[in-house]
Amino acid sequence: MPELQRHVDELMRRLDRMGLHAQEAVLTVMDALNTRDVAAGRAVSDSDGVIDAEEVAIEQECIRLLALYQPAAVDLRRLCFVIKANNDLERIADKAASIGRRIRHVVEQGIDLGHYTEWPDLVDLVTRRLDQTLRTISSLSLDAAHDLIASDGDVEEAYRRLARHVITNGRQAPDGVDMAVTLVLLARAVHRIGELCTNIAEDIVFVRTGDIVRHADQRDV
C-alpha cells in the first residue's frame, strides 16, 4: 500500500475518533440539559479545548500530506474531506459547548423544557442524524449520504415548529422575552448541529463521486 494511502487511512481513523468525541459532547450536554445539571454543562464546555486541539492536529497533518505528496484523485478527495469534516465536527462540539454554557440560564430563568413537546423531537432527530453521520463517515456509503441530504428539511421543519411555539409563548408570558431568547438560542445550536451533519454528508458524496453537490440548486450542475 502506498505511504500516502496509509497516512490518509490513519487520518480517516482519527476523524472517526474526532466524531465520537463530538458525539459524546452532544449527548452529554443534552443529558445535562434534561437534568438541569449546570456543572455537567460547564464540564462539556470546559473540555471543548481537547477537541479544538485535535482539530488543529488533524488539519496540520492534512497540510503536511498535501505539501509532501501532492495527492490526486481519490486521495485528494479523501484529504479534502478530512479537512472539511474535521472542521464541521469541531463546530458540532462547539455547539455542544455553547449549549453547556446556557444551561445556567435555563435554570436561572426557570425554563421548563417539558412544556415544549417540539424540543425532544428536535433533539431526537438531530442526535439520530449525528449518529447516522458518524456511521457514514466510517462507511463512506453514498446511499447513506444521500439519505442524510434528503432528510435535511426534517431538521429545519422541527426547528421552525419549536421556534414558533417559543415565540408565541414569549409574547404571552411576562418574562417571556428572556426565556424565548434562551430557548431560541438553544434550538438554533441544535439545529446547526443538524445542518453540519448535512455538510458532512455532502462532502461524503464528493469523496465518492468527485461531484460538489453543495448549493447544487443554485449552480448549473
Partner: protein, 279 residues
C-alpha cells in the same frame, strides 16, 4: 519569472501574425491533431495500439503513463520521428492540420516545419546562440540579415531567453546553463513557425527553477501553439495541461480534461496510476 512587459511583447509580436483573425488568437479551438485507430508496431511489438483521440488547437495536452506505455512513441509518431527505426509499421490514420502524416505523398520537411519538437535533454547545436535559432529559418530560405535578426530575437523572446543572451548572441550555446539550453532549444523549435510543439519530458533534466520557467512558458505559448507534452511528472501534467491522456501498455485508457483526470478519473487504472497505486 517573465515580467509583464515581456509577456505583452510576446503577444504583440507573435499573436497577430500566427492567428490573424479578428476574434483573436484563441478563435480556432477545433482539433489540430486527429488520431483515428492509430497503431504503431516495432516489428511485431506493439508501440501503441488503436489510439483514437483529438488534440485541440491552442491548448496543452499532456500524455502520462508508466514507462513503456507508448506515450513517447505516440508523440514521436506525430512528426514521424520513428521513421528511422527499422521494421516500424503503422495502421489507422494520424492527421496534423488535415495532413495524413503517414501518407506516402506527405512532404516530411513540410510536416516537420509545422510540428516542432523539444527533447528530454537539451540538445543545442555546437554553434552560437544566434546560429542555433537561425538554423531552421536559413534552411527554409529566409533571406536578409534584418529578417533573420528579427526572427531570432522574436523566438528568443518567445522562449523567455532574450534578456539573458541579447548581449552575447555569438557565444556558444553549449556555454549556457541546462535551463537556458532547453529554452534555446524551444526558441529553435519556434523559429520554423510550427503550429504544433511536441515536448518529450522537457524538464526532466532541469532543476526546479528552470522547470518553473519552462512551465510558465508553456502556459504562455499555448495561446499561439498547440502543445503536446509527455511527462512522468504528474504534478507537472496537472499544472500545465488542459487535457490529459493516460496511456497504459500501448493503449489509450482515458482522455479527459486534466481537472477530471486528477480529481475524478472514470477508469480504475487511471485512478490507480495518478494516486501512485501502480506504475
Amino acid at each position: 519569472m517573465t515580467d509583464t512587459s515581456e509577456t505583452q511583447d510576446i503577444e504583440r509580436r507573435l499573436i497577430p501574425r500566427l492567428a490573424p483573425t479578428e476574434h483573436g488568437p484563441r478563435a480556432e479551438t477545433g482539433p489540430v491533431i486527429c488520431s483515428h485507430a492509430f497503431t504503431l508496431l516495432y516489428g511485431t511489438k506493439v508501440g501503441v495500439r488503436n489510439i483514437t483521440m483529438d488534440i485541440y488547437r491552442q491548448s496543452v495536452t499532456a500524455i502520462i503513463g508508466p514507462s513503456g506505455c507508448g506515450k513517447s512513441t505516440f508523440l514521436r509518431a506525430i512528426n514521424r520521428m520513428n521513421d528511422l527505426i527499422p521494421n516500424v509499421s503503422t495502421d489507422g490514420r494520424l492527421e496534423v492540420n488535415g495532413i495524413d502524416v503517414y501518407d506516402k505523398r506527405t512532404n516530411l520537411v513540410n510536416l516537420r516545419q509545422q510540428v516542432g519538437m523539444v527533447f528530454q535533454h537539451p540538445n543545442p547545436f555546437p554553434k552560437s546562440i544566434y546560429d542555433n535559432v537561425a538554423y531552421g529559418p536559413r534552411l527554409q530560405g529566409l533571406g536578409g540579415r534584418a529578417r533573420l535578426d528579427e526572427r531570432v530575437e522574436r523566438c528568443l523572446r518567445g522562449a523567455a531567453l532574450w534578456d539573458e543572451v541579447k548581449d552575447n548572441l555569438k557565444k556558444s550555446a553549449l556555454a549556457l546553463s541546462g535551463g537556458q539550453q532547453q529554452r534555446l532549444c524551444l526558441a529553435r523549435a519556434l523559429a520554423t513557425e510550427p503550429k504544433v510543439l511536441l515536448m518529450d519530458e522537457p524538464c526532466s533534466a532541469l532543476d526546479p527553477i528552470a522547470t518553473g520557467r519552462i512551465e510558465e512558458l508553456i502556459g504562455q505559448l499555448k495561446d499561439i501553439y498547440t502543445i503536446v507534452i509527455v511527462t512522468h511528472n504528474m504534478q507537472q501534467a496537472a499544472r500545465v495541461s488542459d487535457r490529459t491522456a493516460f496511456f497504459c501498455l500501448g493503449e489509450l485508457i482515458e482522455y479527459d480534461t486534466t481537472s477530471t483526470i486528477f480529481t475524478k478519473p472514470a477508469n480504475k487504472r487511471t485512478e490507480d496510476y495518478v494516486t501512485g497505486r501502480f506504475g
